[in-house]
Symmetry: C5
Subunit: 318 residues, 5 copies
Amino acid sequence: MAIEHNFRLTVDGTYKRHAPAGSQSCWLHFTAAAKPDLEQLLSSLSIHPLAQQRLMNGTDIPTFDEYEGCFFLSLFIVRPSGRTVNVRLLTGSQYMISYMDENDPLVDQVKERLLNHRGQALYPGYVLYHFLDLAAIRFLQVIDQIADRIQTLERQVFATPFANEIGREIYRMKTHLHELRQIAEAQEEAIKMIRHADLPYINQETNPYIEEVASRFSRVPAALDAFKESLSAIFDLQLSLKSDHMNVIMKTLTLVSVIFLPMTFIAGVYGMNFAFMPELKWRYGYPFALLLMATVAMLIALYFKRKGWWGETGTKEK
Amino acid sequence: MAIEHNFRLTVDGTYKRHAPAGSQSCWLHFTAAAKPDLEQLLSSLSIHPLAQQRLMNGTDIPTFDEYEGCFFLSLFIVRPSGRTVNVRLLTGSQYMISYMDENDPLVDQVKERLLNHRGQALYPGYVLYHFLDLAAIRFLQVIDQIADRIQTLERQVFATPFANEIGREIYRMKTHLHELRQIAEAQEEAIKMIRHADLPYINQETNPYIEEVASRFSRVPAALDAFKESLSAIFDLQLSLKSDHMNVIMKTLTLVSVIFLPMTFIAGVYGMNFAFMPELKWRYGYPFALLLMATVAMLIALYFKRKGWWGETGTKEK
Amino acid sequence: MAIEHNFRLTVDGTYKRHAPAGSQSCWLHFTAAAKPDLEQLLSSLSIHPLAQQRLMNGTDIPTFDEYEGCFFLSLFIVRPSGRTVNVRLLTGSQYMISYMDENDPLVDQVKERLLNHRGQALYPGYVLYHFLDLAAIRFLQVIDQIADRIQTLERQVFATPFANEIGREIYRMKTHLHELRQIAEAQEEAIKMIRHADLPYINQETNPYIEEVASRFSRVPAALDAFKESLSAIFDLQLSLKSDHMNVIMKTLTLVSVIFLPMTFIAGVYGMNFAFMPELKWRYGYPFALLLMATVAMLIALYFKRKGWWGETGTKEK
Amino acid sequence: MAIEHNFRLTVDGTYKRHAPAGSQSCWLHFTAAAKPDLEQLLSSLSIHPLAQQRLMNGTDIPTFDEYEGCFFLSLFIVRPSGRTVNVRLLTGSQYMISYMDENDPLVDQVKERLLNHRGQALYPGYVLYHFLDLAAIRFLQVIDQIADRIQTLERQVFATPFANEIGREIYRMKTHLHELRQIAEAQEEAIKMIRHADLPYINQETNPYIEEVASRFSRVPAALDAFKESLSAIFDLQLSLKSDHMNVIMKTLTLVSVIFLPMTFIAGVYGMNFAFMPELKWRYGYPFALLLMATVAMLIALYFKRKGWWGETGTKEK
Amino acid sequence: MAIEHNFRLTVDGTYKRHAPAGSQSCWLHFTAAAKPDLEQLLSSLSIHPLAQQRLMNGTDIPTFDEYEGCFFLSLFIVRPSGRTVNVRLLTGSQYMISYMDENDPLVDQVKERLLNHRGQALYPGYVLYHFLDLAAIRFLQVIDQIADRIQTLERQVFATPFANEIGREIYRMKTHLHELRQIAEAQEEAIKMIRHADLPYINQETNPYIEEVASRFSRVPAALDAFKESLSAIFDLQLSLKSDHMNVIMKTLTLVSVIFLPMTFIAGVYGMNFAFMPELKWRYGYPFALLLMATVAMLIALYFKRKGWWGETGTKEK
Ligand SMILES: [Mg+2]
Ligand SMILES: [Mg+2]
Ligand SMILES: [Mg+2]
Ligand SMILES: [Mg+2]
Ligand SMILES: [Mg+2]
Ligand SMILES: [Mg+2]
Ligand SMILES: [Mg+2]
Ligand SMILES: [Mg+2]
Ligand SMILES: [Mg+2]
Ligand SMILES: [Mg+2]
Ligand SMILES: [Mg+2]
Ligand SMILES: [Mg+2]
Ligand SMILES: [Mg+2]
Ligand SMILES: [Mg+2]
Ligand SMILES: [Mg+2]
Ligand SMILES: [Mg+2]
Ligand SMILES: [Mg+2]
Ligand SMILES: [Mg+2]
Ligand SMILES: [Mg+2]
Ligand SMILES: [Mg+2]
Ligand SMILES: [Mg+2]
Ligand SMILES: [Mg+2]
Ligand SMILES: [Mg+2]
Ligand SMILES: [Mg+2]
Ligand SMILES: [Mg+2]
Ligand SMILES: [Mg+2]
Ligand SMILES: [Mg+2]
Ligand SMILES: [Mg+2]
Ligand SMILES: [Mg+2]
Ligand SMILES: [Mg+2]
């Protein structure tokens, strides 16, 4: 693919030229800075107004559209930060026009691959493949990152099950997963549509490559679904651990209350100031009262023991 | 499209005329006030009685029906208030009849677009497209509004997790989302049916426009699904925060109860009025009792500390 | 359709005659009382034994079966009480046999419609349509009733969130919705099967009518699904409100306990009967003790205030 | 169908003979006791080794497999106890071989039906139908049993909402439903596969019978799904009732604690032994103290009343 | 299949030879140690670069890809430990190349089976079948193991419902099931794709074998789904049992508190030191006070009994 032959004469701008020399087709990449040039180029080519508009404005989620003589593909890649960025590709039989708002190493990686495989640079289908492939690699890297974060979260729940922060972290990750999930599902569908579409510009030779990247990308939504279920399981686990905790706290409170309330009551009784209370005069009234309290406490403790409410929580309730 | 040529002679009413002059087809819009005229018009045209009935009475959810020589489309748009309003369109090869109960800026916006693109005004398919496009834009605006409200709710949960109002707001939004979801899903399906139907009145040229609006509209049910999951996640988060809170409250209650109950019991014991209580006569009986209480309190506090029940809730339970 | 021409001569019974005169086809309706006549009629016609059996015994859920020369449709209608009732229809090219165990205004409504549109009475397809249409109307009426009951329930939760009765009402409605849901889903499918089946007795003209009723009926299972989600949302809301309530109760208990336990302890200390307790002899010992108690109470209250546990629950936890 | 003509000469065993005399096809039933005979028979016929293996070993879930010249159907029936039992059927154009590990009345019921309808006994398709029909009847009987048990459970929750046993019963039923569900879903699919398969041995005449049993059987997985939702609803109901209960308990505890803690504190204050406590000397000190306590208690009770925490739980919270 | 005829002359390595002698096709197995030989072999054959790459690098989940002249199948087997291991198979009309990173008895089992059925060794389809069959057997064994572990867990919940460990075990199993589920679902789909693909190298004879293993393998994802539901049911059961437990604890606390708080208050009243307290002087003041306390306690106990809060929790609440 080369840019010189076709458009150089009519289009004049600041877009980067990635096309290796000596071919009949070309790949042009534009960023926000070169948007006016792109607009000029598009109006000089007979591209469907809707395709032009989509290329200029982008889409909210990945999309694949066929037009007469070309097709438009709106991809998303994920930055290591987890933010998604839109890549727009317009592919015809002799050209590929790509657009990204920001500079991203992705474009240089595609260029480098094409320079390494000059044979592939002859067909827009290969350029498309490298974009899809690098987008898939980016997503799979973020998938790995998320998997690591979930494992960290999991260890954290086992280590400090009552940390407030965990509930918030689960919420934040869930929200992030939802967003990625919608992008990934639409992207999976868009890639499948390329496979099923009857596109003459994607030649016989590149088909297995598109197939392969589609099969690899299908791992992404599946993994995101699994993450969501993992987060739910972690949430359930934490809930269960917290309820166990509350259980132990309540048992402690109940045990102490139930033992000391009757003892304090007995002490209160013998603290009354009635003129005639025979026990107060007894020689062993005091030890008797203490013994009475101890007996009551013991009986209650025994009851608790027998109910299985005292000691290890892991023992059977009777 | 023009109204003058075909129907002017037979139909006489208060409906608005939006059709630009000089064409073979016309677009007629009716509101509740012009319902009798619409009825008269329909009976003068050979339209299927079911189509007539649907146009007059509307439908509960978006619907697409094909009849011989025409098709009926019942759309819904959302007002900024979130309320949905029914738009009914009957499209033939030479005409488009639209009906709305209330006045809505939508109709003037379609008219304005047609006047700006007079070429498009020749085909009913373009009128249809502008209706669908403006309906999609309305939905996407409401989607943005809801997204903002959910973000506000989210910040509110992090700021004041125990606000009663949040549970109620989540409920209200869920209910609203359900309603929008049903409308949006049916509308998505109705738009897809236009694409897949074999309609001669929607010419080759307008097809990509319908495709494009269908692809854009498909964002709506997906976003509503995502919102529903976000609300569930916020509900779970609040539940988790509340349970953390209850945990802290219960721990405080337990700690104070369990420390003071034994101390009060000891005070109660030495408040008894037995004639023979040796400790009461001791020179240092009072400091001894205070020391005893302090020791008991300290031991219990230590037990709590070692259990990890005292202090930060984020520390590991032992 | 007329009953006189074909069967009058051979069949003699108590079934009602609804067929308008002067046509080649007839519609016969039977109830439990006329079951013997129906049995006699069926054996005199060459109807598939399975179709006969189904007509006599009915089905648990709506069903559509094709046989050679006829098809069997088992419909369900809902009574205003919410109870479902089975309607069985056997349709051939020249006849329609209907059966219901009980008398229901439905049959008279179909008859009245046919008498009003005598042209339609010529084809069994129209009779079928009126049965389907009236069944759909009945379901949609019950849907409206349920929607009202859910709104009442919703208002009730906001008004008296702790009413025991609400949980029970939610349960009862859920159970009822499940039952209706299964009937409605099967009925939707049965109606769709009529549309897709290749039936010669349903002529070209009646097809759009069947389509229309199918489209209208598809609202029923969708609405039932939405109700189910509404009930779940109400349940969640009530759960959330109850947990808020418990929160407030527990805070009150904790606040009062935690303030009075230390004060009571101090009172207990100065209620001890030690011979040597210097404070008891102080001139201002009593005010000192009261001040000590008040100070402790104040400090605890302050701690609670600063933690945000006192006062409005809607304020931020610190 | 008859056993005598084809195989009698070569096969010699203990299998039961159910085939009525005078036909060209036969049905042979084997149980575990006759397994060696079955093995011998299979090796003498040219049946696909996989079909032989499946017939001998059975399958975990219902399965339908086509082989050249025959097909294998593995059915499951339910015993009244809820246990599922495997029935294996190998059907060719001239024979049907059935196998069950245990004796079950099912086989005799099929035999009896064939003897009553001797015309049907000529085709393996009818034998198959009777097996399927009786299997469906068995499943539907168990469905009825489960429905009854769920209604009992429901009444139990309303009567004794705090019975421990209910949670366990729900669990046991859920587990049982899961198992039945998997069997029933696979069986439904297997029956559908017979309908869709192009089997010459199932003649034109038996097709409607297979259709009918398929339509009847489809009720089973639907009912099992509904039961699962009912159990979840009962679980939710019980949870809600328990939480209401806890609410009432906690309110009682809080009310009593919050009323008596301040009163006991006042009593404690006047139980202190300070030398200078003016109130103790007052003429009406004691009634004053009692009045003070009563006032405090009244104020608290009033506060509770006004908050709506006292009395009926069904009243509005303020 | 034999290795000697085709490749022996050109390829020279350490791969194992499993091909029985005297056939036209061969099966070659490689492990990590023989990776260089595999690379050399692949480059000497005209295999699609993507197929080569997949064979060398493996896939994350089971995959099936068709290339011109060959197809690639990436399978997973489970070790008894529950860990999954990747098996990669490249199948052409005359050869089968398999690769596993580690040594596993699987390969020897396939070899042994082929040596026992020498006729089967002539076709790559049979080798494929044995791989699939052994993979299915491995999965089904692990399914049995998991079923046993779940039954143990179930018994544990009934025996010791408050064991902390159960929540953690449920979490661990859920996580493991998710992973297996994704592998199993993809493997099921890959096996189905073999069935539906139009592969000339899998001859007519092996087709039923692939069908049979597909049908058997479909049990795996279904069982994993059922396990997931069982774990959720166990989680719910434990939650329910824990809430019952908390209920009983809270009732005990409430009962004891509510009985002793008023009694202690009365004791506190008669412990006050007012100069003028008539009751203190009464002859029977002390018994009167004790009686008063007992009466209050009795009334409260009666109230609890009547409310149904005392005694068995399984009784009806009034
Ligand atoms: Mg998906
Ligand atoms: Mg989708
Ligand atoms: Mg999945
Ligand atoms: Mg998936
Ligand atoms: Mg899905
Ligand atoms: Mg739908
Ligand atoms: Mg959808
Ligand atoms: Mg759906
Ligand atoms: Mg989805
Ligand atoms: Mg979606
Ligand atoms: Mg859905
Ligand atoms: Mg889904
Ligand atoms: Mg779905
Ligand atoms: Mg269904
Ligand atoms: Mg549905
Ligand atoms: Mg729906
Ligand atoms: Mg569904
Ligand atoms: Mg669904
Ligand atoms: Mg199903
Ligand atoms: Mg399903
Ligand atoms: Mg299935
Ligand atoms: Mg369903
Ligand atoms: Mg179903
Ligand atoms: Mg499902
Ligand atoms: Mg899948
Ligand atoms: Mg699935
Ligand atoms: Mg599946
Ligand atoms: Mg399943
Ligand atoms: Mg499924
Ligand atoms: Mg699913």
